[in-house]
Symmetry: C2
Subunit: 512 residues, 2 copies
């Protein structure tokens, strides 16, 4: 404890300790930013031969960042810190939460897990290539065992899964997810059955009509600016094999995109990452270079990306407004089409084996399937050896499909090989939250009117005020309840699906 002359009461620890804490957190943040920049650059522009040394450099940066943050000194500064206002209080609260989390796992455990993850990741690549789950199985067994140990080390009240889920969605519990997902499943599955039985005369060939790569990227970026407010003063668009968003400050945002003959991948992918970027952009500058900057959770982050990608980007007013520009950018795609036809085509409901290709109706089933299997594996009620069969059975139950081999089934995602257990639910939670937020935002007449005209400035202002600005200073639950007046629920999403796809597929829109 240090005291200073400027302290009003001699016993109170004041600013200097807070200044020192912020200095240290700033350094940790800067190291993290350097690592993030090196990663981004690796994916977007690094020469191939640089990969090996870059891997070593990234490993050093990650290690030093972790070492500096988890150093005893950080704990001492947290103990000594005397926050004087809301800003400082949030910094100390969030930094302490992170510190306790980061120091809970013994170094030996983290090292063992890192080794196991590396081995599992390589085994997964080979297994997927050969579509052979058996060679990956021992690694998955080990990852599940490590996950159980991690849960024990972290501690939990109700379910070991909670301890893992909390890494990605602070405060969320497996029990709550179960309840929400059950409701979602029971009310979406009948809709999906009705859609599958409906006549579909749409022409999906337009989705692969010629659209040159540069023109795809340019149009996606232009609209990201005009519609959603992202621009080159504080952001960049680059290409990478897998699209992602990363940022090094709220004024230094990077989105990546990829270009395919199936052009919606580039457009909606870009707007998805734009949603992530605008979230980071909206976090208050008060939290700059502190652990409070950044999104509240993966789920809340995903709510923003999905909102921009789907709720706006795949809406009819959006396509009506931007159709003339799309015609100019993609004359071969739009020949003989109008905005309505295009809207129809980009909203195809098409059960598929692959999660990342899924539409708004089927996507969540991919997540529910994974969540249920993760839970059963962690509880030990499902053996790893039984996983492919269980996967295929659920895939048949939910989407009426049976994978042709493990590669397009249980081996399709990288997550489990990287030890990311408890991560999948955040995708579906984000979907649900996106609609719940949009519904709440539309209580404001200006926002609602703007959305009808595809003018999103009022919506963006609402999101900034009710979600973005808080960064990590509020939990996902706090943000949800404060912004929408109630806990997360499947209701808004279910209603949204029924209304939108009822109209598209000529169904009576009521839940059956």
């Amino acid at each position: 404890m240090t005291t200073t002359e400027s302290s009003s009461t001699p016993e109170t620890v004041t600013e200097p300790s807070m200044t020192e804490l912020r200095r240290r957190l700033g350094q940790v943040s800067d190291l993290g930013a350097a690592e993030a920049l090196m990663s981004w650059e690796q994916e977007t522009s690094m020469p191939d031969e640089a990969a090996r040394v870059r891997g070593l450099q990234l490993s050093t940066l990650a290690g030093l960042t972790h070492a500096m943050f988890t150093d005893d000194k950080t704990g001492e500064l947290l103990d000594a810190a005397a926050p004087q206002d809301d800003t400082d209080q949030a910094i100390v609260r969030v930094a302490r939460r992170d510190f306790e989390k980061a120091t809970k796992l013994p170094t030996e455990f983290v090292e063992e897990r890192t080794r196991a993850q590396n081995e599992a990741h390589h085994a997964w690549i080979a297994a997927r290539k050969g579509s052979d789950f058996a060679t990956f199985a021992p690694h998955l067994t080990r990852m599940m065992e490590l996950a159980r140990r991690e849960a024990d080390l972290r501690g939990y009240d109700e379910h070991p899964y909670d301890a893992l889920l909390d890494n990605y969605e602070p405060g969320m519990r497996a029990g709550a997810v179960k309840t929400i997902f059950a409701d979602l499943r029971d009310r979406t599955l009948p809709l999906l059955r009705r859609i599958a039985a409906a006549e579909d005369a749409a022409d999906y060939g337009v989705l692969t009509r010629p659209f040159p790569a540069e023109a795809q990227k340019a149009f996606a970026w232009k609209i990201a600016g005009e519609a959603f407010g992202l621009n080159s003063s504080f952001a960049r668009q680059d290409e990478s094999a897998h699209p992602f968003m990363t940022n090094f400050s709220r004024s230094d945002l990077r989105i990546t995109t990829r270009v395919e003959p199936y052009w919606p991948a580039c457009l909606f992918g870009t707007w998805h990452e734009t949603g992530h970027a605008m979230y980071e952009r909206g976090v208050s500058g008060r939290w700059e270079r502190t652990p409070v900057s950044g999104g509240a959770s993966l789920g809340v982050h995903e709510s923003q990306s999905r909102l921009f990608e789907n709720l706006l980007g795949r809406s009819l007013p959006f396509w009506e407004r931007y159709f003339p520009q799309f015609q100019a950018a993609a004359p071969e795609v739009t020949a003989g089409l109008d905005a309505q036809t295009l809207y129809r085509a980009v909203n195809r409901v098409n059960p598929s084996m692959i999660r990342v290709e899924a539409d708004e109706v089927t996507y969540n089933f991919h997540i529910m399937l994974r969540f249920e299997l993760e839970l059963a594996l962690l509880e030990g009620t499902l053996k790893v050896s039984e996983l492919p069969e269980a996967w295929n059975a659920k895939m048949q139950e939910y989407l009426g499909l049976t994978p042709q081999g493990d590669a397009q089934g249980v081996l399709q995602d990288v997550h489990w090989s990287a030890g990311l257990i408890g991560y999948f639910p955040t995708y579906a939670l984000g979907n649900l939250l996106s609609v719940q937020l949009l519904e709440a935002a539309q209580a404001d007449a200006g926002v609602a009117q703007g959305i009808q005209n595809a003018e999103y400035a009022p919506l963006l202002a609402w999101l900034t005020e009710n979600v973005h600005q808080f960064g990590r200073s509020l939990t996902p639950t706090q943000i949800t309840e404060q912004a929408t007046g109630r806990p997360l629920s499947a209701d808004p999403y279910v209603a949204y699906l029924h209304k939108k796809y009822g109209e598209i597929y000529g169904l009576d829109g009521a839940e059956s």
Copy 2:
């Protein structure tokens, strides 16, 4: 001191200490690479608004890199290290030299100097804008005072300038530079006078004929690959306001270029940076992630950039060989021209006020002028207030020109405002060394024949074997003497100028 089982004699400290040292040096190197990448990205692709936070991030990285390297732990590891082979010996030797240098200046001095540099830099920008030396003068006085104190802190045998010069050109002394420069001046000035008096019927209008920006960059990069071996497997070309080369490993090289209506700026600038890049590329992989990687000095580095830019890039065989490709790339430039005409145009001797625009004959005079003035300022025989007058007098003496104001005179370079005293001579030393090395290389018939045909693979192999591979394991003097059989001398450069420009300007080629 630690001993291990694997040690042959129990008293000998063996590998583990060396391993620990290399681990630490590797981390320092990785942090430095992260900083370098952040800097490169700042100059080439960063969004404008990111600048403020990026500055803080860079400052953190620089501070942590310095703190980690100068930590007592590094000193202990250096003391304990027991190098077993040449590679390890060089690592310990170079790391110890750097460590002693880095720890010689007290932190308070470094901090004071950093503040003074920042202030001087801002003052210089304003002064140059207003072409008003008087407002910069107090800052230069302070920089000279700090330079004298630095020299005292570092220590020197003969002249305080030696201590500063040693930062950039290890082992070089002011006395040696004086001797070499005097010889160079006395033997080049008469040549310059004869050139100035010679008839010049060349058409320099071709140097600003239309050549679209993308085509300039593409041609420069293509030839950097075909002629000099730089390619996208391990290097990138980007644009920046001021061209530079940086690298993050020997397999991760970056050159930047800028495009101007005066197209030689892009072409020769690119090949200049290519020379720097190929030096780093050629350093032995043994020194990876150690302080031995990188060039031996600024002077040796400059010898490589100047060799590629001038001795090859501005040679007749080069233009004869690449003229057809140049025609295809720049049809408007080459209309009605042949290789000889072009060669003639890009070798214009044109005394100018501005160092960075200078040709092969006049460039070194810009350096000699600065060196002489730095020396006089440091010795106190010249007052800062007298500097503009002294500058202009020397400019008149050497190049027959008088600057129209301080902006194009004494305020033109950034170096002094950044505290870089003792830096300028390395440019001219590099010029001299470039010719001395090329002369030595041509003793090899294959190299000589290759140069005649603009086939540079044999030369590159010679440079790699005799210069590049050693990195910093040899001093500039050792490299020079080992590669050329004698100490650095003005002879080869003077002879080169007389031969080349004697032919170009129709003079009898003998020294007058």
